[in-house]
Symmetry: none
Subunit: 406 residues, 2 copies
C-alpha cells in the first residue's frame, strides 16, 4: 500500500469567524502564503464540528475531532481540565474546574481573586485541612485556576456547581439536579467543601498579606464544569496510531491524556497570542520521528475572538501561517488545518458556524479551492462533513479503515 | 406529469480512485467524450456510499445504492453469492462463499486449487456423499468458486468460517462467535462438512488425475462470508419499478435476484477488463423495452484497481466510455453513472473516499461541472450525498416519491 503514514492535526482554536471588517473574516484578512500553499496542494471543506448551528465547546469539539462522540462520553468539562492539570483521574471520578476567587458575605466580589498568580500555599492548605465524606484530590493550575476531583462510591455529576459565573451574585449553593441519593450526597459534599475552604483560606497569612497590600484575598474556590470521568478507549487502541498532544491549555492536554496520548510540554506555551508557538512547531517536528499522530492546538485566535479584537486575531493568524511553514511535513504526512469552532469577534463567544478545514498529503484528491479561509473552504471538494467524520476520513487515507462488507 | 419514465443505474465497480499519475486519477486520465457529454447535460456530485471514510464492500454498496440499509439487512456476503450462483435461498438460510482449494496435512497450499476451472464432478460428489445434521445446498460457480447454503432450524451465521485467507496456514476450525445453541451447532456442522468434503474429494479419480499431471488436487472447500439470508422487500414492491440486473459477478446478480429483479445474462460477460461489455449494453437497450429500472454493473475497473494497475484501469474506463455511448437513452431515461466504491491503484483495496456520480435526464437540474471524474464531481451541483439518498432522489425524478406532510 502506497499511502501516507502519519497525521498532523492542527487545530487553530477559535480560528474561524464571520465577515466583519470590509466583509472579511480575520482569516480572510490574514497573510497566509503557507496555508494557501497547502490549500493548493490539498482539498478543502467545511465542517460542523458538532452539528449545524450548534456552537461547540473546545472540549466537545476536540473529542469529536478525535472520533469520540461527545453525546456518549461528555458530561462536563471538569474531567478534562483535571486530567490536564496533572490529576490522575479515573473513570467514575467526579471532577470540577475551580477558580480561586474573592467573596464577601458570600457574595462574589472577584471570580479570579485579583488575577492571583501563585496559589500553591492556598492549595496546600486545602489539601491538608479539608476533610470530606469521600476521597478528594485538589490541584492548583495556572493563575487563579484549579481542579477538584471527588472519588468514591455514590457520587454524581448531576449537581449544580457553586460558581455563579457573575460578580455581585451569591456563591451558588450546590443542589442535586437529579432526585437520587448520589446526587444529593454529592451536592452536600460540595457545599461542605465550599464551607471548609472559606473557613481555612480566609484567615491564612497569605491572604492577610494580600489585603495589607490592597489585593483581593483568595478566600474561596468556585467550582464549575461538573462531569463524570468517562471511560475513553485509548486512541492508540482505536486507531493503531501512537499519538502525542502538543498544547498549552489544560483542557486540550487533558483530552490528550484521557485518550492515552503522550503530552509533550513546550516551554513558553501560554495559550495567549504571545505564546511560544515556534517551540510547539519544533516539538511537532521532533515528535514526528516517533509518533504517528500529533494533535497540535494553537489557542491565541480564540482568545482574540473572545476579546472581540479583529486586528489582533488577524495578525495572530498571519503569525501562525509563518510559524506553521516551519512544519517538517512532506507527502507522507497527512496534514490537517482546521478550527475547533468559530469565535467571531462580533460575538466574543463561540458560534455554530461551520469551520474551514484542509487536508493535504499522499492520496488526497485536490480541488479548485486554493486559499485557506472560510470563503474558499466553502467551495472545497470535501463539501461539508461533521466533526465525527474527520477521523474516519484521515484513517482511510492511511489505509487503516476496516471495510464494511466484502 | 411530464417526468422521465425509466432509470438506468450504471455502476462502474471500483471505478473511482485517488490522484496518482501526474496528480490524476485513472478516470481523470481516461478519454471520456460520452460521459463528459452526459455530465454537461446533467448534474454531478460526490457520494459516501456508506459513510465518510468507510470503505464499502461491493455488497453493502449495491444494497445502499438500491435503497436497502446494509446496517439492517447485511450480515455477510454469502447469501448474495449463493443467490448469484443460482441457489434459491430463503430468508433464514445460512450461506457461505466457497473456494475449491488444496490442503496438505490440513495446511492450505493453494486457495484456488491451481485455479481449477471445472469443478462440476467434484461438486456432484459433495452433493451425493456429504450428509449433515441439516439440509444443505452446494453449488459450484465460475472457476474455483462455489457456494454453500445450510437450511433448517437452530442455525446461525455467528460462526468463524474455515477459510484462513492465507496460504501456509491451517484450515480454520469453525467456532461459534456467540455463546448460544444455534451458533455452536452451526460451527460443528461446518466442521463436519469440511471433514467429509476432504475425505470424499481426496481420493476422487479426478484429483488423482490432476496430481498425475502435476496439478494441485482440489481436495477441500474453504468457506467464508457467512451470512443469514435477509428478508428484502422486493424492489418492484418498494418502488413500483419492474427491474432487471445486468452483471457478470455472482454477488451483484445475487443482490438483484434477492431483491426480485430479473437477471439478464450476457454471453462473454466475465467481470474482467476483457469482458463483453458491448453485450451488456445491448442487453440494457433490449431490457429498456419492458423494464423500468436497470442496474448495470461493469466490474473491470475494480479488478485493475485491486491489481494496482493505473494504465489498465484508465484504458478500461476509456473503453467503457466508448461502449456506454451505445446506450439507447434519451431524456425519458434517468441515467446515473457512478461507482460502488473507490479501489485506488495505490491501495489495491477499497477505500472510503467518496465516489463521483452523475444524473442526466428529464427534469434534472444542471450545474457547471461538465466532466465526469472525481475532480469535477466534487464541484457538482448535487454536492455530497449518501448512498441511501440515491434511490429517493431518482424515484423523485420519476414523480414516485410520496409527499411527507400535506
Amino acid at each position: 500500500m502506497d499511502v501516507a503514514k502519519k497525521i498532523v492535526l492542527v487545530v487553530l482554536d477559535g480560528g474561524a469567524d464571520r465577515p466583519t471588517v470590509g466583509g472579511k473574516t480575520p482569516l480572510m484578512a490574514a497573510s497566509r502564503p503557507f496555508l494557501d500553499h497547502l490549500a493548493t496542494e490539498g482539498i478543502l471543506g467545511i465542517m460542523d464540528v458538532i452539528a449545524p448551528g450548534t456552537p461547540p465547546g473546545s472540549d466537545t469539539a476536540h473529542l469529536s475531532l478525535l472520533g469520540y462522540a461527545p453525546e456518549e462520553v461528555y458530561t462536563g468539562r471538569g474531567p478534562f481540565e483535571a486530567a490536564g492539570v496533572g490529576i490522575n483521574v479515573r473513570p467514575g471520578d467526579i471532577a470540577f474546574r475551580g477558580n480561586f476567587a474573592t467573596v464577601k458575605d458570600d457574595i462574589v466580589v472577584d471570580r479570579r481573586a485579583g488575577r492571583i498568580s501563585d496559589t500553591h500555599q492556598l492549595a496546600e492548605a486545602i489539601r491538608t485541612h479539608v476533610h470530606l465524606d469521600c476521597e478528594f484530590i485538589f490541584k492548583e493550575s495556572v493563575g487563579h485556576r484549579a481542579a477538584l476531583v471527588l472519588r468514591g462510591e455514590r457520587l454524581s455529576h448531576m449537581i449544580r456547581p457553586t460558581d455563579p459565573l457573575h460578580v455581585g451574585e451569591l456563591i451558588t449553593r450546590s443542589t442535586p439536579l437529579k432526585d437520587d441519593d448520589s446526587s444529593t450526597r454529592t451536592a452536600s459534599i460540595v457545599n461542605e467543601f465550599t464551607r471548609q475552604v472559606h473557613s481555612i483560606l480566609k484567615d491564612l497569612p497569605i491572604n492577610r498579606e494580600r489585603e495589607r497590600h490592597g489585593q483581593l484575598p483568595a478566600n474561596t474556590v468556585l467550582l464549575r464544569g461538573a462531569g463524570a470521568v468517562p471511560h475513553l478507549m485509548p486512541f492508540e487502541q482505536r486507531t493503531g496510531l501512537k499519538a502525542a498532544v502538543i498544547a498549552a491549555t489544560a483542557l486540550v492536554i487533558g483530552i490528550g491524556k484521557l485518550t492515552g496520548m503522550q503530552y509533550i510540554p513546550t516551554q513558553g506555551a501560554t495559550g495567549h497570542v504571545n505564546s511560544n508557538i515556534e517551540g510547539k512547531v519544533d516539538n511537532v517536528n521532533k515528535a514526528l520521528k516517533d509518533h504517528d499522530f500529533i494533535l497540535l492546538n494553537i489557542k491565541g485566535a480564540d482568545e482574540a475572538g473572545h476579546d472581540g479584537n479583529f486586528d489582533v486575531k488577524s495578525r495572530f493568524l498571519s503569525h501562525v501561517d509563518r510559524v506553521l511553514s516551519k512544519l517538517d511535513i512532506d507527502d507522507s504526512v497527512i496534514t490537517v488545518i482546521t478550527a475547533d469552532h468559530s469565535t467571531p469577534v462580533s460575538l466574543k463567544e463561540h458560534s455554530g458556524d461551520p469551520v474551514p478545514f484542509l487536508i493535504r498529503g499522499k492520496g488526497v484528491r485536490t480541488d479548485q479551492a486554493n486559499e485557506y479561509n472560510e470563503f474558499y473552504a466553502a467551495q472545497g471538494g470535501m463539501h461539508r462533513i461533521r466533526g465525527l467524520d474527520m477521523m474516519p476520513v484521515l484513517l482511510d487515507l492511511l489505509g487503516l479503515r476496516k471495510k464494511f462488507g466484502a
